[in-house]
């Protein structure tokens, strides 16, 4: 699973996507990601997150601009199985008669012969991937007979088995408990260390600074992109979310009275993000743990 090639980059330049109905969901979006990064894709509902994913996977053709992966067009990257996708739960038919093992094996199809006969190599990789997400014991279960977090892990295992060097995760934390979330984050960190690029769309603002080193803020175009400390600020979040975010200003609260510090708490309905005076992110991106998270 460890990357066997030199660094891979994702370049999105001036991408404009217009759907058949004439709606331009995304215009002039540009950003780039270097290998070994986890990037959060943050924006309101309908801001074009899924559309951007579709553009990177080659499901929609940009009417303008281009996406390149490792310097190659998306079509070529597909043939090499470079881009793996972890779908949103709602997109999957859970009643389908396939087992966990079958699903993960599907990640290997791109490497198999015409008849898709698994080689020992494929079986080994499937096993490794399942063990890595701690789902090996469930390999014979029908996929619908799993909990929400287990389902997510199976599809993550499929991305691993595929050897996807760019992994797209569409809202991986919805319906997942804290423990599984931590496990998934841990896995993403390992993959980052191995040189993978992960793009994670999420409404879970609070966990963004915890594991994402890059952030792309989006609202029908890229509003800001870059390292988390620089981009994930109150000003930018306000720009991205307008009035949509729930905001609790503690300036005049008892918190403020007691220790004299101003704290802002922003939430897009899931875990809140905590910002200090002037809208600076109070969270330090490191492995020191989460102190500084709470006021």
């Amino acid at each position: 699973m460890i990357s066997d090639q030199a660094s891979l980059e994702v370049h999105v330049s001036d991408v404009t996507v217009t759907y058949n109905n004439g709606h331009t969901a995304l215009h002039d979006a540009s950003f780039h990601l270097r290998s070994g990064s986890i990037c959060a894709l943050v924006g309101v509902n309908g801001s074009g997150k899924s559309t951007l994913f579709k553009a990177i996977m080659g499901f929609v053709r940009p009417s303008r601009g281009s996406v390149t992966i490792g310097g190659r067009p998306v079509k070529e990257a597909q043939k090499k199985s470079w881009v793996a996708y972890v779908p949103q739960s709602e997109e999957v038919d859970w009643t389908f008669p396939v087992s966990v093992w079958d699903v993960v094996m599907m990640g290997r199809y791109g490497f198999m012969n015409f008849l898709r006969t698994p080689r020992p190599e494929d079986k080994r990789l499937v096993r490794e991937s399942l063990e890595r997400v701690k789902m090996w014991d469930f390999r014979d279960r029908q996929i619908g007979e799993l909990s929400g977090g287990q389902k997510k892990r199976v599809f993550l295992a499929r991305a691993l088995a595929q050897g996807g060097r760019v992994i797209l995760l569409d809202e991986p934390f919805t319906g997942v408990d804290v423990k599984t979330e931590a496990a998934i984050i841990e896995l993403l960190r390992e993959l980052r260390a191995a040189g993978h690029i992960m793009l994670v769309s999420t409404h879970n603002l609070g966990s963004v600074p915890e594991f994402c080193d890059q952030v792309v803020l989006i609202n029908r175009t890229v509003l800001a992109s870059g390292p988390t400390e620089e981009v994930f600020t109150q000003a930018n979040l306000a720009l991205a979310f307008g009035g949509v975010l729930r905001q609790f200003q503690f300036d005049h609260s008892t918190v403020d009275d007691s220790d004299g510090r101003a704290v802002t708490l922003l939430t897009d309905d899931e875990r809140p993000v905590v910002l200090g005076r002037g809208g600076h992110l109070e969270h330090r991106l490191s492995d020191e743990g989460k102190q500084g998270d709470e006021s």
Binding site: N20, M57, G58, F59, K75, Q78, K79, K80, S81, V83, A84, Y85, P87, E91, V92, D93, F96, P97, V98, S99, D102, M106, G107, Y109, G110, F114, L115, R116, Q142, R158, Q162
Partner: protein, 291 residues
Amino acid sequence: MIEQLTIPFQYEYMLKAIFVSALIGGVCAFLSCFVTLKGWSLMGDALSHSIVPGVALAVMLGLPFAVGAFFAGLLAAAAMGFVKAKTPIREDATIGIVFTSFFALGLLLISLYPTGFNLRTIVFGNMLGIADFDILQAIVICAIAMTVLLAKWKDLLLFCFDANQARSIGLNTTALHFILLSLLSAVAVAALQAVGACLVVAMLVTPGATAYLLTDRFGRMLGIASTMGVLTSAAGAYASYFLDGSVGGCIVVLQTTLFLLAFAFAPKHGMLASRRASRKAIAATLQEVSA
């Protein structure tokens, strides 16, 4: 008694009917696994009716009827796709509109230009009177369909299960969609012979639905469905001799019987099994509570 049971085998037309029915039944059943999982049951029904004008035209022009039928089926599928893409009308309504208009056109053609081709044959099938050329036609269709299915069933499975994943690893999903649709169309044409336009959809759905109740693995589902398709079709054709009834009717009634049995007794998804499971669960909870 034994002698009586072997009587059908003494007639060449019965042997042919049994053989062709089994062949068509098997291929239909194999395909039915994809049809039921993809949610294309209505589509199968629509296609089997839409091929009627193609049959009428082909007969008028002196072409093999399978050719006309196949293209009429594809045309109908294309028309449904077009209406669906261009209007917000719901899919079932689209299917309803397209297939009835095709069927009506077929009726009209047949009534305006009688060609000696019997409408009853199309609507109810005519297995016992099947011509040698039509047998050949059915064999060719089944052979091609089965080859494609056996070679590509894994790709088709991935396409039905997760088209996005199929696309993201570079499979041509448009081609897979077209392949599945063509297979459906072609196999419907073959089945038309056996059971007629009205009952084709049963052969294209019931075995898959039955097998689905019996297993959680797609590979096994294919095996169970095909076996069931072959056996019920052969047995149906055989039984029709004694009942002196329609072959299509016998086959489909047999299949439905098996479906009902699976529905009641399937080890995991059957009605009795789920009732047993829920009783057990309740008992376990009660025990826990009292303990």
